[in-house]
Symmetry: C2
Subunit: 436 residues, 2 copies
């Protein structure tokens, strides 16, 4: 039971990072590449450097802090993100990054050296709340999106990503993919209600649902709400409402794990007595099975065409994000499960309904995720909460498995060297071990 | 055919007033009591004073410019409003005010004195686009709403009406209802497509549809769009969409003259991947028959309750405006029709789908309206247009009827006196006539 890692320190850091961009009524707003995100990055990088990690930042602003191993080669990477949605909680993403930091510090404290390096990663714009697509930093990291294209993405507030990155001084110079990973572990809150409802300690994540984001723009004609007979209208607002309501019908019709959300719907001019000339809505569809997801997309396309014709408006669509379902490495998923059980924790296999950086990393290395319960299943919500005991459980699984994957080396000596490295000093023993 | 009034001068003033708050792509934005509205008022008051009118402003900012008659007593009032929606045209409201101004100037030009005074009125916040309810100024004028209550109304942008009125220096000192009206005439564009479609010159307005504005607020729970199963959601956005779509079904189900519009629908936090915690939408229902309007309201209430229960969200509603249908004075409506026909113009009786200040004035005096065609039926739209020939037709009807109602006095002498009054001079003949 337990591990060498210290949940208290992790919990304190979650609270401290949660103060950056804190909202008056609770929760946090650190939209990607905002000034608050910059301040959060500064705090985390400071902690990394204080822990002696070698911190580098790449061209899309991904942050990597590495604790060397006794052998050269790829890292065991532990990561997630620290950007949040506009009304987010303090756990989503932050937990995975700060737990990684806790693991390396706890290894130092325990005087444990590892064969492989351990890298703590914080990826840029995972949420996609300000820049689409989501999971942008990890996507660029694995070569799934060209850096130049990514830097030219424009935010919902009209800002260019590259400019915003430079404005917070996180346009780094490290080459993309400079840190190679032997394995990637992401520790995250469930963000759903399943583990809590079943009283399960650890969610063993088999993969990530496929994600399809579509922006629908409807163009009609604004005219007087009182003087325009229904038959002569081109009401973009009514068309948008019918599509948004229809998304609910499609999703419930498919049933099972299918989910769909219209989280944003904007009418213009947006006045009580003016028929809307334009409506823009977003449709978020997710399912663990690609064929089912495509079925939902086809039904959505048909719905949009039917409604646009019926309401005599024109419709156009734009794909904001599209990721196929991802299955994590079976062996690594098995290791998460075995590690948790060996620690005496109950487990359940599940698919993630949310997108995560792990699904991008899975393109280039074995990846897996560890979930812990979310109170009331809430996430992307200022009332997001995971209980301290659950935080500690997941940290134990992460620390134990990370050490297992990295491999224990001559612990005591390197432990001392790491402590010295944190103060800027080096020792012969450290140098020797690096070359061993 | 024709009258003593000059359409060219009216058209030029419509263009000039349309420059105040003009939008880059055409159209105009002079939301009530905005700085642009203040500038528009200054322009119109300047024209009124230059025309020798006695201009007074009451406590709610209504503007009245009076041309004296040869007999004391109530005025023939010609009025409308000069505030606009956010993306409005230059005719809506402005036409009625500036046509009134043209009538009194043309009477001067023609040297015609009238027995009754003629008052040109511009009422505050007719549109209701910034402050609810609409037709606020005329409602307060006829005693339908207490002045103190009206001044405390808060705009969609959070400003208090009384403060905004003071900020543009239109918190006047004239007592409410100081100008009594023997009759009220409002000349307005149709704002709908009926007259143009039928090729009719003049719409003889029998009355105004009843208007019901309801704001619906739905409160759910924001959570992750991917990780929250459909059965566990409290999606305020989906509930709002179902209600907005349902409004279309209710209205089409009732059919005939029934119209309904959801012009504003706002989701928060309004992000692609976050289930909406809160939704606020407005429902605008209108029908010429009170019983049918109530039927629609009852169906809306039932819909809201059904959807809220089905989507496990809470719903609250607030009435933003509620006006019963108004029938105009039958004799005066008949006079509009007879006047138009005597001028050789084709006519059609119809109900106004839009609310107008005339419906408020109808509470205290005989009121009637004159409609002219709107190109493509467009209004509350930057492309709002009425052809010059149609503007001239309506002006002829207005001028002819206004003179008929006011009664012709010793024309030539007073004509000269009015011209002098415009330059600030007075004559004995004028003084004598005022006392006659």
């Amino acid at each position: 039971m337990g591990s060498f890692a210290k949940a208290e320190r992790l919990l304190a850091r979650l609270q401290a990072l949660g103060e950056v961009g804190a909202l008056p009524g609770g929760g946090v707003c650190r939209l990607a590449l905002s000034q608050a995100d910059g301040a959060g990055r500064d705090l985390v990088c400071g902690w990394m450097r204080a822990a002696g990690l070698d911190v580098i930042v790449d061209g899309i602003g991904n942050i990597f802090g590495t604790r060397p191993g006794t052998q050269p080669g790829p890292s065991v990477m532990i990561g997630s993100h620290i950007d949040t949605v506009a009304t987010g909680g303090i756990y989503d993403g932050n937990l995975g990054v700060l737990a990684g930091l806790e693991v390396v510090e706890a290894l130092d404290d325990a005087g444990i050296a590892t064969l492989k390096p351990i890298t703590v990663a914080a990826f840029t714009n995972e949420e996609g709340a300000r820049f689409a697509p989501d999971m942008l930093g990890s996507l660029v990291h694995v070569g799934g999106l060209d850096l130049g294209t990514a830097l030219d993405i424009v935010s919902i507030d009209g800002a260019r990503l590259g400019d915003e990155l430079a404005a917070i001084s996180y346009a780094g110079t490290a080459p993309l993919g400079a840190i190679r990973a032997a394995a990637y572990l992401e520790y995250h809150i469930e963000q759903g209600p399943v583990l809590e409802a079943e009283g399960t300690d650890i969610g063993v994540v088999e993969g990530v649902q496929g994600i399809s984001w579509t922006e629908v723009t409807l163009s009609g004609r604004s005219s007087h709400a009182g003087a325009t007979p229904m038959r002569l209208r081109h009401d973009a607002g009514l068309a948008a409402a019918r599509i948004a309501a229809g998304v609910g019908e499609i999703v419930r019709g498919i049933g099972g794990d299918m989910v769909g959300t219209v989280g944003s719907l904007k009418l213009s001019p947006g006045l009580v007595n003016v028929i809307a000339e334009k409506a823009v809505l977003t449709v978020d569809l997710r399912h663990p099975d690609e064929a089912t997801l495509r079925q939902a997309e086809a039904k959505l396309a048909a719905l949009i065409a039917t409604v646009a014709a019926a309401e005599t408006v024109t419709a156009s669509t734009r794909t904001l994000a599209r990721f196929e379902p991802v299955a994590f490495d079976k062996a690594l998923v098995g290791s998460v499960e075995a590690t948790a059980r060996a620690l005496g924790l109950s487990t359940r296999r599940l698919y993630s309904g949310a997108g995560h950086d792990a699904q991008m990393l899975a393109r280039t290395c074995p990846a897996a995720m560890i979930f812990v319960p979310s109170v009331d299943g809430l996430s992307h919500n200022v009332r997001e909460l995971t209980q301290p005991g659950d935080i500690a459980n997941g940290l134990d699984v992460l620390a134990t498995l990370a050490l297992d994957l990295a491999g224990r080396a001559n612990a005591a000596v390197v432990g001392i060297s790491r402590a010295n490295a944190a103060t800027g000093e080096t020792t012969d023993s450290n140098a020797n071990l690096k070359e061993s």
